[in-house]
């Protein structure tokens, strides 16, 4: 639409009412656009994004430079940068780590735990939320329990999880599961309450029965909120996982970070933190990308 708007012909303005009802047809521009004109238009259309990239890069660079200077001069101003590793030291650590099978194993194991815990949470919380949103009785039965359990942070579950599950690995996955479970449930439920009743009625008088209405109306209508829940849930899953790994783990990136502290490997602490940040960001982006694939109708 936007490209055709740029080359609107004057004649189009007086289109008859009937034609105005149709979407404006894309009329090819008369003169073949030169490369310069094309570049100029591309710039106009992407100005906002280019600016965001530029500003974002500058702010990242400023952050790195500040970090470098603060550690180089070992600034002590309320906080102490005496022992904080410099960005270059962390980079050296990173170069070593990516060839270190131990480090890669920590990362892989954390990812596996996230994948297991988060997927299980999604598989349970999404259908549960949908069913709770649709059937009052189920909602009335489950909601009070979930409201009592929901405020308990996943970390507080660590001792209980260790008692509940035979292996350490299982209890860590369980904690990850718990962390992402409630955000997904709550958002799915919220999505269900916002389903436009007129769409349900429209489906009814097109001959849809209960199961079809659930599948064709309630579920897709709730999808945007389900994906909000998945994104939030993924963030909380990482928070919970790292806490669990630090407390009870033997492996994993959270354990790696904690161990680096015990072994006075200062640059590895920062490396672990950055790895956690990058992994968390990547998984969130992944979910958003899946969301766009699954919901092609939304204006992205």
């Amino acid at each position: 639409m936007s490209s055709s708007a740029l080359v609107r012909h004057p004649a189009e303005a007086e289109a008859p009412a009937a034609a105005a009802e149709q979407a404006p047809a894309v009329t090819p521009p008369h003169q073949t656009a030169t490369f310069g004109a094309m570049a100029a238009r591309w710039y106009r259309l992407n100005k906002g994004r280019l600016r965001a990239i530029a500003v974002g890069s500058i702010s990242l660079i400023v952050f790195l430079v500040a970090w470098h200077l603060l550690t180089k001069y070992r600034v002590v101003f309320f906080v102490r940068f005496t022992n904080v590793p410099s960005p270059l030291a962390v980079y050296d650590s990173f170069k070593r780590a990516i060839h270190d099978p131990m480090f890669l194993m920590h990362v892989a194991l954390s990812c596996r735990r996230i994948l297991l815990g988060f997927t299980l949470a999604a598989l349970v919380a999404v259908p549960l939320g949908l069913v709770m949103g649709r059937f009052k009785l189920i909602h009335e039965m489950i909601f009070p329990v979930s409201e009592v359990l929901r405020p308990i942070p996943a970390i507080a579950w660590v001792p209980m999880a260790i008692m509940l599950w035979p292996t350490n690995e299982q209890s860590i996955v369980f904690i990850t599961f718990l962390g992402s479970f409630f955000p997904i449930l709550v958002n799915t439920l919220h999505g269900m309450t916002l389903v436009d009743p007129v769409l349900v009625r429209a489906a009814r008088c097109l001959g849809a029965r209960e199961a079809a209405i659930f599948r064709e109306v309630y579920f897709p209508a709730s999808l945007p909120h389900i994906f909000t829940g998945l994104t939030v849930g993924m963030g909380v899953a990482w928070v919970s996982l790292i806490a669990a790994e630090m407390i009870s783990g033997q492996y994993g990136i959270g354990y790696f970070t904690w161990e680096a502290y015990s072994l006075v490997q200062y640059s590895d602490i920062a490396l672990g933190m950055i790895a956690i940040g990058v992994l968390g960001l990547t998984s969130s982006l992944l979910i958003r990308a899946i969301g766009r694939l699954v919901m092609p109708w939304g204006r992205a």
Binding site: A20, E21, Q22, V198, A202, C205, G207, V217, W297
Partner: protein, 295 residues
């Protein structure tokens, strides 16, 4: 498919006879029972285009929703071809005032929805949907999501979707209420065209007098609070109807008649005791609104 059936049967339509008898409907509220529609009889003959017109809040939607099967009458019956209406069904297609296309389905998928619910196979319903979209001049938009359509196009798709299951009756609740005047006129023309081709019974709710006269074979005029039928006016204008007819003396006479009926009711609905017809056409401020605006 059903569409073809209806078409071939066009000459001798016998289906789609709507009969509402001794109808009343009360809503239960905290203040007690509120009678929205009382003692109402309407009927639509097979293939007939009937409008219900009346001031806002007089119970038009209530009546239509009962015919659709969303509401149960408190007393009386609603039958279609002699069968009691028990709940919503694809037999009675409905178009709502609010845009009600499924945002996650493309235009064609929206139109296919009813056929899918009936278990028609994919290629068959694709073909049927294309044919119907063609009738409404929408074939170019079959792959668009509703999000990208104008209001007029959305309602057109809504009508096509309701027709795609081959209903006996099409119910429309102020479908063009949210559209601008120009688009409205075009939509009225398109609706008339489709109705004439498919020869299906239509029950059309509106508060627009011109719209009711232009479209209908017969117009029911409703009273306010509690709603009931005040008058039944046949519209003997010839078909096909042209935009130019709206200036004819016949049209204007019908318009005048309906106007005074509605005006009376609107005044009652708003002011309670104010029934003085001498106020017609004056710009009296009433409850903060200009009278002319409300009428």
């Amino acid at each position: 498919m059903n569409l073809i059936d209806t078409k071939s049967a066009a000459a001798t339509t016998t289906k789609g006879h709507v009969d509402v008898k001794n109808f009343s409907l009360s809503y239960e509220t905290i203040d007690g029972s509120f009678e929205a529609v009382t003692d109402t009889q309407i009927h639509v003959k097979p293939g007939e285009f009937v409008s219900i017109i009346g001031p806002s809040g007089c119970g038009k939607s209530t009546l239509l929703n009962a015919v659709a099967g969303f509401l149960k009458p408190t007393t009386g019956t609603v039958t279609v071809d002699g069968e009691l209406v028990k709940g919503p069904s694809a037999e009675r297609g409905m178009v709502f005032q609010q845009y009600s296309l499924f945002p996650w389905k493309t235009v064609r998928e929206n139109v296919e929805f009813g056929m899918k619910m009936r278990g028609m196979d994919r290629s068959q319903r694709e073909r049927a949907a294309r044919t119907l979209l063609g009738l409404a001049g929408l074939e170019a938009f079959e792959k668009h999501y509703p999000d990208r359509l104008s209001g007029g196009m959305k309602q057109r798709v809504g009508i096509v979707r309701a027709l795609a299951t081959g209903p006996k009756v099409l119910l429309l609740d102020e479908p063009f209420g949210a559209l601008d005047a120009q688009t409205r006129v075009i939509m009225q023309q398109i609706l008339t065209n489709m109705w004439q081709r498919l020869k299906i019974s239509v029950l059309f709710v509106t508060h627009d007098i011109d719209e009711a006269i232009f479209l209908s074979d017969r117009v029911y005029c409703m009273t306010a609070r509690p709603g009931s039928i005040k008058a039944e006016i046949p519209i003997p204008l010839e078909r096909p109807r042209q935009q130019s007819m709206m200036m004819s003396s016949e049209f204007l006479a019908l318009r005048r008649g309906l106007m005074s009926l509605i005006r009376e009711e609107s005044l009652k609905a708003m002011g309670g005791e104010i029934t003085d017809l001498g106020m017609q056409g004056l710009n009296i401020e009433l409850q903060g609104q200009s009278l002319a605006d409300v009428l």
